[in-house]
Amino acid sequence: MCRGPCPADGQTVVFLRLGWQCPFAGWFCRQAQELASRMGLQFEELDLTGRPDLGAPVGAVHSSQVCVPGWPPLCAPRDSNALYRQLQHPWKDSPCPPKPPVAPRPAGSRSAMALLRPGDAGWSPAVHAGVATCVPPRSAVDREHAAAAKLSWFEQVETTYGPGAAILVACEEGAAGATGAAGFAEVIPASAAHIPLATLRPGDLFLTCVHALGEDGDVRPRILERLLSELGCSMKRNSRMWTVCGLRSCYPNGPAAVFEALGFTVAGNLGKCWLPEAGWDDLELLSWSPAAEGGPRLALVLAPEDNVATLPWGCRQGEPVDVAETQPLTAIHPVPRGHKIALRDIPQGGRIIKYGQTIGQATVPIGRGEWVHVHNVMSARARGCSGE
């Protein structure tokens, strides 16, 4: 089962949290915890950033820079405004995914972060310009470059930390059509962490949840690299560090990647540990960015003459649906993922048209915005018992 260096019994797996911005960080943390327990390992969470109790901003705002004493000024990518809005979204307080409890603030700890705005002392136009160029227009070519850059960085880390060491760089895609992606560049030094590094033993493993743009030149891998070098002595000597992530929309890939990074073949029986307890629907609905911001649901209309649209992520009752029509469309029923919604009123016996082709007949009158499926549609083909 074990492909590479395997963790030994009694080792500690540390979940290294680099941000609260990820809607699934808490869920991911629990999965990592479960994984650790299945592997017979200790588990601890090491929170390095974004703690409101430190008085630090949870997120940086547009065009802000974040300054950490002893570090060069860092800059949040341009589109973090969108993310900041998301931070206000109800997911923060919703039961899914639950956040792990925040450990009490250690006595005497202070904020290690300062927020810089243009004109403030310490603001670096050069850093800001650098970040602006690190969020290039999105295209397949850019993405290929980013992937190649990540891969080479991955290899570099493996060279540095020895065979078996692996850092998978996070790649967080933004909303479809968005020019940037949400992200943060704040880092709090290890001295401000909940769990003192001194309590860790040589050989402990680090599971890190990092959100990154996935674009070439993303600042966060470099931040992580700095963090690594700060913790470097012990890392290089004794520890392996793993950074795990996934595409936003398939974020739960994380634990599988953790497992694979640890040198195991992911077995089928671990499948259920990837699934959030609260079920997939809420998770994916929340992960779909327009929905997370309260925007309309994506609907796919495949041909102009179609009278139904497919909702890849489904929608809840009463939610607006984005069909790029002048008349706003509201879902009359909850529509499950992948199912269809009526774009127009369809009379009883009327044709249901998708792909510009007839896919069946309405068995009852179907109103605009209704869920269209086997309860109100009948096939016209291969129905021996229908008497046709």
Partner: protein
Amino acid sequence: MSREALAQEGWGTGYLRPDGRVGLRNHLLVVPTCVCSAHCALRIADLIPEAVSFYHQHGCAQLASDRDQTARALSGTGSNPNVGAVLVVGLGCENVTATELAGAIAATGKPVAQVVIQEEGGARRTVLRGAALCRGLIEAMRATRTVPVAPEMIVLGVECGGSDALSGLTANPVVGWVADEIVEAGGTVILSETTELIGAEHLLAARAIGPAIAEQLLFTVRRIEAQIKQAGLDLRGANPAPGNIAGGLTTIEEKSLGCVRKGGTSPLREVVPYAVRPTTRGLVFMDTPGHDVESVTGMVAGGAQVVLFTTGRGTPTGSPVAPVIKVATNDRVWTSMRPDLDFNAGGVASGREGVEAAGRRLLELLKKVAGGKKTRAEESGHHDFAIYRVGPTV
């Protein structure tokens, strides 16, 4: 890279067979003639690391058309260029005899041996004798020449199973894009699943190279639809299956319109019966049921060396002789069934990537698999095999 050049390079090397076809794998296949010899065949393959085998329940007590179809599927699988040598394991009194099968496969020029349980004096002796014969076949396979693979040597089977509403929007168009590349580069693509053409047959018929081909296709679809109606049954519940319906597919027409997209947009050049090798290159339709494993088995028996298999609900399907590349239609199944899947086309739905970008990635994966990279089904040893029955057991 230009679209023309895209499919031409980087295919790695394959195994040149005496009949001129090129295999992407070099399997020693142990073929049971009938259900009675199936376990002996598996036992022999267990003893020989290089050997693969499969179980099937046919080969005896079948009416003529059914018996012929079984013989065709078995000899076709043995003749597949991914197979370097074949051991046929017979019982001795079955409809499909070892001599018939071995003869049909030996016509391709590849090394073939046979062992018959009743002639050897029992199962135990058959297994030992079969294993000894396998060692000789492995020696004979060592002489196989390797040649660079070119796209015109490729026979690609396209299949969808466990479909959901995204199959027709993401993975099938992506596979269709790859199918077009292969056809344009001179290769062959086999589209199948007659049941899943119901409601979309007119679109494919319109692309036929002539009225005769179009009529063959329409006849094939009418025949299966008439069979269903004659039986007084309703297709719904069987196809779309309950999982398809849960995934958002309402009718067979809707499913078919998504299914047909995995064949791409090339002209339809030929319609072949189940498990029959196409005589032309380009896009070919094979008359198979919508049953995934029967359909894949038919296409592999028809000479497909590699299969692109899209799935929205998830399936572990593999083939004993052909690599099956499984393409997820959505991020969710890609995550939940990751160990069984090879490629994620779910990004097409979320706008992460376009059909062409995903198609290019899939083509690169296809080339790697052609060059020897193992698919998830190969790694897991999934040797699914099932023959399309057209008659009762008698």
